[in-house]
Amino acid sequence: MMEQAFPQIKIQTEDFDLSQEVAAMRAGHKDIGAVVAFVGTVRDINEGDEVSILELEHYPGMTEKALEKIRQEAHQRWSLENSLIIHRIGKMYPTDQIVLVAVASRHRENAFYAAHFIMDYLKTNAPFWKKETLPHGEERWVDARVSDQEAEKRWATA
């Protein structure tokens, strides 16, 4: 099971509870002063159109490895106590939770930067693909955003 190889990475169809996941990530790490949690949710509008269903596909095996690599990179760049990435797959609906990135550190600055970094890299480096269904049943693959490429570049080191 990939979940055992990378215990801080979870790919799942079911929803997650923010409080429970953050509590589990904090457990056993008492010297935490700051937790930053990012939750990505399904918007009801994309590119000006109403969206009824969002379906997430991924590349099993590569996904876990790519996310763990991003997580490890964050731990190398900032002093962190722990971190967690959960990404849902399958069908989701407007307002549903899609992704959770949670980071715990002693001081807030590291947690803010690391969570933002992980999300920016996840957007451009983790093999997930979104397909939208519009109200009349039309399906379309979501295009990658140039703004996400730009966001990743800001973290480049010399």
Partner: protein, 82 residues
């Protein structure tokens, strides 16, 4: 043998999620040239596509990446998770 995977819009366009091919290719480039011979849709998706993304054995790769028997090669469009 080499395992080939197609994801998202590629899987739909090519009508195939995965296949096994003989390990007759020394790099991703030669595998792509061979797949392009299958016709226009393959040519468009895999050769004339600046957005083609490639992974070999779960790591990001490119056309020059060597491949050998037992490898898993994946082709997909730019990712859109998160």
């Amino acid at each position: 043998m080499v395992k080939i995977l197609y994801f998202a819009s590629f899987r739909e366009q090519l009508g195939k999620a995965d296949e096994q091919l003989p390990a007759d290719y020394d790099s991703v480039e030669s595998l792509l040239q061979s797949l392009a011979d299958r016709g226009e849709v393959w040519q468009q998706a895999l050769v004339n596509n600046p957005n083609l993304q490639i992974a070999v054995n779960h790591d990001v790769a490119d056309r020059a990446t060597p491949i050998e028997a037992g490898d898993e090669v994946a082709f997909f469009p730019p990712v859109t998770g998160g």
